[in-house]
């Protein structure tokens, strides 16, 4: 495995048991996250991107399970780590920032308690004083005055709470931060500041960030590479420049056209036809074929492989592949 790859996901499937049957919320997805990059993961609501993010930490419970897949994080397959050892990896190596900063902090704990608890959970020998000092240092770098550490989550604004969440991930120098729609509930000004902060942190700490979002603009602004998911499948991965300049998959093309673009004045916005498919009974073949303007015969019969279409740009589409009867799976 190449050394510049921090997290390599291979053939990951996440199932949900529902009354209607088993739903593959993430279906046979492979993805590489490179060291020090910000990777954007975009897709419609319900396409499985949040489930994918949580599965990277094996943070699934109740009806969800991972029937197969490999999670190679820093040379170690997390799927082979016993569940009782996972808490040691969560937080210490992989951190997470959640969508709603209003509810993602414990309302009865002060910010200081949050931070010291995180530090001392993983490093029990650290004294209270040392943990406090680290917490103060950390939040000051994120632009929160250390006097405010003794406050409770409800006394802080959404943007500040989101910075607190980041600081929790950074408290133990996490290598990878999974940010699950971190700016969705923030207003645009706070959002812009937060994205600047992410970028700064990435440079300062050489942080790797998986940014899960449905906002194409955010991806264009901060990400190095982008991965596009549709109906539990990965449909396209590539550098932001390449994918935005020349999207290969018709779904990506549609997605980009449906975002207002200040440069190309195209009149009315493009509206993709059809509805996202039910994951309980996904379409046969390529899952996008019922909505695809370029659908061919083969699209409804066979599933295309997820492979390189132009250098490092990968897509899963028959437009760029020959039907040779067997599927090739290449590294993303």
């Amino acid at each position: 495995m190449a050394d510049d790859i921090l997290y390599s996901v291979r053939n990951l499937t996440v199932d949900y048991k529902t009354r209607g049957g088993i739903v593959h919320a993430v279906d046979n997805v492979s993805l590489d996250i490179r060291r020090g990059e910000i990777l954007g993961l975009v897709g419609e609501s319900g396409c499985g991107k949040s489930t994918f993010g949580k599965a990277l930490m094996r943070l699934h419970d109740g009806p969800a399970s991972i029937p197969n897949g490999e999670l190679w994080f820093d040379g170690q397959d997390l799927m082979k780590v016993p569940m009782k050892d996972m808490p040691a990896i969560r937080g210490a190596d992989i951190g997470m920032v959640f969508q709603d900063p209003m509810t993602s902090l414990n309302p009865v704990q002060s910010i200081m308690e949050h931070l010291t608890e995180t530090i001392q959970t993983h490093e029990p020998k650290v004294s209270d004083a040392a943990a406090h000092a680290r917490a103060e240092d950390l939040v000051e770098r994120l632009g929160i005055r250390h006097e405010r550490l003794k406050e409770y989550p409800h006394q802080m604004s959404g943007g500040m709470r989101q910075r607190v969440m980041i600081s929790l991930a950074l408290a133990l120098r996490a290598k990878l931060v999974i940010a699950d729609e971190p700016t969705t509930s923030l207003d645009v000004i706070v959002e812009a500041k937060f994205l600047d902060l992410l970028k700064e942190l990435q440079e300062e700490f050489n942080l790797t960030i998986l940014l899960i979002t449905h906002n194409i603009g955010v991806v264009a602004e901060v990400c190095d590479r982008v991965a596009v998911m549709y109906a539990a499948k990965m449909v396209e991965v590539g550098s932001v420049e390449a994918v935005f300049a020349d999207p290969k998959h018709p779904y990506t093309q549609g997605l980009l056209r449906s975002v207002p673009n200040i440069k190309l004045d195209e009149g009315d916005l493009y509206k993709m036809g059809g509805e996202p498919p039910s994951l309980l009974h996904p379409p046969t073949g390529c899952r996008f074929h019922p909505r695809c303007p370029k659908a061919m015969d083969i699209c409804s019969r066979e599933e295309p492989a997820f492979e390189s279409v132009a250098g490092e740009q990968l897509a899963s589409c028959w437009l760029y592949q020959k039907a040779d009867g067997k599927q090739k799976v290449t590294n993303g």
Binding site: M57, M96, T118, Q155, M156, K193
Partner: protein
Amino acid sequence: MANQIENLPNTPPEGANWESDLKKVGFVRRLLRARHWYGADWWFVLISSIAVIGFIIVAIFPGLFAPYSPDALVGPRFLAPGEEAALSVLVVPSSASYSNLKELAAGEGSTRPRIGVVQGSSTAGDLNTQAQLIDQKLKEQGNGVRFRPVIARYASLDLALQAVADGTDSAAVVQSTEFVSVKAKFTTLREADSLTGETAGSFALGTNDIGQDLLSRLIWGTRIALIIGFTSAILSLFLGVPLGLLAGFLGGAFDRILSLVMDSLYAFPGLILAIAIAAVLGPSILNIIIAISVLYIPTYYRIVRGQTLSVKQEVYIEAAQSIGARRPEILGRYILPNVIPSVFIIFSVNIADAILTGAGLSFLGLGLPPTIADWGIDLARGQRFIQTAPWMITYPGIAIVLVVLSFTLMGEGLTEIFNPKLRDR
């Protein structure tokens, strides 16, 4: 770097948006704003808290407040509240050098002084007993001196007193209450000490059928009532809360079985279940506490389980997992603190319930050994004399109502202030 530090407004905006403001303000402001926001009154809490604190102080130091020991037979039987107890007193000539039986015995040598009593009055018996006691003591000293007064019986009080005034008798033993009415007629007589040497007791709430002071029993009964209330509420809290937490958190078979057990306990009529448990265990204060706490475990269990289920879904629990918190930690540091406020509100109402059930059990004779000063026992005892001595059942009843009312009001008042959204449910 982003740096917008916001300060909360010092006072929450008036009216309308109180539901969202509620989370931002502290206890005191909630207390003061509650009336303004949603009509919950702080003075409910204040008055009931003062009452509760009062009851607790009385329960801790009953000796400071109670005039008598709760078990001592201190007065006549069936004395109505406020009525003065009649004592047998010695009435002697004003000029007499003696003012009690002992002095009389010493002064008269081994002669036999005449002492008058009124026929049919209880004083004759008292005189006999006391005289014998003194005689016994003198006999033990062994110098030949004895005390054997001649008891002269008169048909009326006037005659007895007249005999003393005339000098026929050395003294008379009469009821203190009766002497007061005729005192003016016999100016040459004075009321000396009572026969037993005791001063007349006052019994603000009267006495019961065996001559115990009701007020003292009531005051000592507070201790028992609160001990039962608090310990059984605490016991069921300490069992119900962890069970509810675990059931809500773990789910699965554990949750289902436990919920089934708890629901069946809950479906039972409370007092009947307590009666059954108490009857099996036998009367003792510990058993009554066990019986009552079994009764109230499901209350805590259900509330805590429900709250745990909802808190478990909160994002901050997932966030805690994402920073590496382990399950016991999530349970103890994230779920429990968010569940506990509602528990303490039930706790207060629960104490009131437990006191009531405890009193009910001892009323039925299943609770406490009958020697203990307890409201339920006093109620049961008073019930037999409800025609002749209604005060015996009235005051313990009032005490139970007051204690239960103040605990309930405090609990309800706190609920209104802390969880106003619960009101409509």
